[in-house]
C-alpha cells in the first residue's frame, strides 16, 4: 500500500486507519486510510467498483469493518453504531437516494432533526407543549433547508414524486438537518441534469463555507476540480494516489485504472 503523505491524524474531524472489508472472499476495501482535516473538502474518486461506497458504509457505520479503526473528532467510533455516529456529528447521503417515499418532503426533512423529545412515546404523550415548541423550531429550520435546495414548491408532496436529481437534493437537505460537523456525500450529482448540477455545486460550496468538513465521492471531474483542493484515488479497495485534482488525473497509474484509459 502507498504510504500516505499525512498519516491519519486521529484528532481531525474524521480519520480512518487501515480499514478492511470483504464480502465472501471478495476483499472490497483493502487497508484504506484517510484523514479529513478541519473544514476540508476532500474528493474520493476511483473507477466503478473501486470500493468507494463501501468505504462510506464503513465510515458511517452502515457496515461494520473487518479491521482498522475510525475516529470522529478524536473519539474512537470503530464499534459505535450508525445512529451513534450520527449523534456525534457524522451524516451521510446515499448513492441511491433513500427517501421516505410516502412521506412528504417536509416530513422527510423534519425526521432528520436530532434530539426530538416527541420521538419518545412517553414524552409524546406527556409533554405536548415541549414537543410543539420543538416542532415549531424544526419546521422553520426544515423549511429553510428545503428552500436552500430549491424544493419549496414541493414541500407538501410525497417524496415519491421527486425526480432522480431532486431526490439527491432532498438527501442533501436531510443530511444538513442533522446539524452535522462532517458529511459524506456519495455522488450527489449522479443523474442530475446540467441545470441542477450548478445548483448542487453551489450548495455544496456554501455548506463547506460554513466550516463543515466534507468527503465527496464523485465521477464528475469538473465538479471535483471546482470543489476539492485535494483528492484521493481509490482502486481495487486500495489507496492509489493523492494530490490536487490536476496532478492526480495526469498520473499514468490513475489513468490506467479507469477502464477507458481516460480520467473521466
Amino acid at each position: 500500500m502507498t504510504e500516505m503523505k499525512n498519516s491519519p491524524d486521529s484528532n481531525g474531524p474524521l480519520a480512518a486507519r487501515d480499514l478492511k472489508k470483504s464480502f465472501g472472499g471478495n476483499r472490497v476495501v483493502d487497508g484504506m486510510s484517510l484523514a479529513l482535516g478541519p473544514g476540508e473538502m476532500l474528493g474520493l474518486i476511483g473507477p466503478n467498483g473501486a470500493g468507494k461506497t463501501t468505504m462510506f458504509n464503513l465510515l458511517a457505520g452502515t457496515l461494520a469493518s473487518d479491521a482498522g479503526s475510525i475516529h470522529l473528532s478524536g473519539t474512537d467510533v470503530t464499534r459505535t453504531s450508525q445512529q451513534g455516529r450520527c449523534r456525534l456529528g457524522l451524516s451521510r447521503s446515499f448513492q441511491i437516494p433513500k427517501p421516505f417515499s410516502r412521506m412528504t418532503i417536509l416530513e422527510n426533512v423534519m425526521t432528520a432533526a436530532q434530539n426530538q423529545a416527541g420521538e419518545n412515546v412517553l414524552r409524546a404523550m406527556m409533554q405536548p407543549r415541549l414537543v410543539a415548541k420543538q416542532e415549531q423550531a424544526n419546521v422553520a429550520r426544515a423549511r429553510d433547508l428545503i428552500d436552500f435546495v430549491s424544493l419549496s414548491h414541493l414541500e407538501d408532496q410525497p417524496a415519491s414524486v421527486l425526480s432522480g436529481g431532486q431526490r439527491k437534493l432532498l438527501e442533501l437537505a436531510r443530511v444538513l438537518m442533522t446539524q452535522p460537523r462532517v458529511i459524506l456525500l456519495d455522488e450527489p450529482a449522479a443523474g442530475v441534469n446540467p441545470a441542477l448540477l450548478d445548483l448542487i455545486i453551489d450548495r455544496i460550496a456554501q455548506i463547506h463555507a460554513q466550516g463543515i468538513a466534507v468527503l465527496l465521492i464523485e465521477h464528475n471531474m469538473e465538479m471535483i476540480a471546482r470543489l476539492c483542493p485535494r483528492v484521493i484515488v481509490m482502486a481495487a479497495g486500495k489507496l492509489l494516489a493523492e494530490g490536487t485534482p490536476q496532478d492526480v488525473t495526469r498520473r499514468a497509474d490513475v489513468i490506467d485504472v479507469y477502464l477507458d484509459g481516460a480520467p473521466a
Binding site: 446515499f94 421516505f100 412528504t104 422527510n108 423534519m110 416527541g118 420521538e119 404523550m125 410543539a132 416542532e135
Partner: protein
C-alpha cells in the same frame, strides 16, 4: 326491551375487543411486529386486575379489594412490563423470534392461569370481580347500557391517544423506519428502541382491555385466554383494516357480530349433544370471512390512511394553500 339489553351487552364485549384490536394495530398495523400471543397480554391484565380488586379470599393470594380504576392501571402496567420483557429479549433479533416467543408466552401463561391455584384460582378461575356499575346489576338494561357507555368511552380515549401519537414525531419516525430503516439509522434514529416502545404501548392497551373485560363479566377463567382469542383479534384487525385505528374498531364489532350470530344459529339448529362439536363451525365462518376479505379487499375494509404529522401551520410566507 330484552333486545336492548342484549344489544348493549353485545356491544360492550365488542368494545373490549376493539381495545385489544387497537393494541394489536399499534404492534402489527403500524410497526409490523408479529404478536401471536395476544391472549397472554389480555389474560395477564385480567388476572392482575382481578387480584387487586376482588374482595379478600382465603384460598388464594390477593383479594386486595381495591377500586376498579386501580385494577385498570395495574393491568395496563403489567401488560406493558410483560411486553417490555418479551420485546427486550427478541425485538433486536430476526422478526420470527418475536412470533415464536409470543406464542410461547401465550402457552406458558395459559398454563400458569390454570395451575397457579394460589394466585389465579386455577381451573375454576376468579369470581366476584367487582363489576363496573355493579349496583345496577339488577336492572339489566341500565347495567348493560352504562357499561357500554364506559367501554365505548375507553375505546374513544385510546383511539384519540393513538391518533395523537400517529401525528406526533413518534408516529412520523415509526413511518420513516417502516419505509427505510437504514436511512432512519443514518439520521441517528434507533429502530430497536422505537419498536420496543410500540410493542410495550400495544401490550399495555391489551392488558387494560383484559381488565375492562373482566370487570364487565365479573368472572374470569383460563379458558377465556386460549389461542382462539388471538385468532379472533387477528381476524378483526385484518377484516377491519390493518394500520387503520378506525378499521380496528370496525373490524372488532363486525367479526364479533358474526361470531355471536353464528354461535346462536348453531345453538338453534344443532341438538344439545352435538353443540360442542358444532361450535367449531364458528371458526370456519370466521376463516371463510378472512379468506373473502383477503381475496377481495386485502387491505381490509378501511385501508391504512395516509397520515402526516401536524406541521403547526402552513408556510408563513406563502399564505394558505388549497
Amino acid at each position: 326491551m330484552e333486545y336492548l339489553a342484549y344489544g348493549a351487552f353485545f356491544l360492550t364485549i365488542a368494545m373490549t375487543y376493539a381495545l385489544i384490536c387497537l393494541g394489536l394495530n399499534v404492534q402489527w398495523g403500524q410497526t409490523g411486529l408479529f404478536n401471536v400471543g395476544v391472549a397472554a397480554f389480555v389474560g395477564a391484565g385480567a388476572y392482575t386486575s382481578g387480584l387487586f380488586t376482588t374482595p379478600a379470599v382465603v384460598d388464594r393470594l390477593g383479594g386486595f379489594d381495591l377500586p376498579i380504576w386501580v385494577g385498570w392501571i395495574a393491568a395496563a402496567l403489567v401488560g406493558g412490563v410483560l411486553s417490555f420483557l418479551v420485546g427486550a429479549l427478541t425485538i433486536r433479533m430476526r422478526t420470527d423470534y418475536l412470533a415464536i416467543t409470543t406464542f410461547g408466552i401465550a402457552i406458558t401463561l395459559q398454563l400458569a392461569f390454570q395451575n397457579l391455584e394460589g394466585l389465579t384460582g386455577g381451573v375454576f378461575g376468579m369470581s366476584f370481580i367487582p363489576r363496573a356499575f355493579g349496583d345496577l346489576q339488577g336492572r339489566s338494561i341500565a347495567f348493560n347500557l352504562s357499561n357500554f357507555a364506559l367501554a365505548a368511552a375507553m375505546v374513544f380515549a385510546v383511539y384519540l391517544l393513538l391518533q395523537h401519537l400517529m401525528r406526533s414525531p413518534w408516529g412520523r419516525l415509526l413511518r420513516a423506519v417502516r419505509e427505510d430503516e437504514t436511512a432512519a439509522q443514518s439520521m441517528g434514529k434507533n429502530p430497536v428502541s422505537l419498536r420496543l416502545q410500540a410493542f410495550v404501548l400495544g401490550g399495555a392497551i391489551m392488558g387494560l382491555a383484559g381488565a375492562v373485560q373482566a370487570h364487565f363479566i365479573g368472572f374470569i377463567a383460563p379458558g377465556n385466554y386460549l389461542p382462539m382469542m388471538t385468532f379472533q383479534v387477528w381476524a378483526m384487525l385484518i377484516v377491519g383494516g390493518s394500520g387503520n385505528n378506525r378499521g380496528a374498531i370496525l373490524g372488532a364489532v363486525l367479526v364479533w357480530a358474526i361470531w355471536a350470530l353464528s354461535g346462536s344459529i348453531i345453538s338453534e339448529i344443532f341438538p344439545a349433544d352435538q353443540q360442542a362439536r358444532a361450535a367449531s363451525l364458528q371458526i370456519v365462518v370466521i376463516g371463510v370471512m378472512l379468506c373473502l376479505i383477503l381475496l377481495w379487499r386485502p387491505q381490509g375494509i378501511l385501508p391504512e390512511a395516509r397520515t402526516s404529522s401536524r406541521h403547526l401551520g402552513k408556510r408563513p410566507d406563502k399564505g394558505p394553500k388549497p
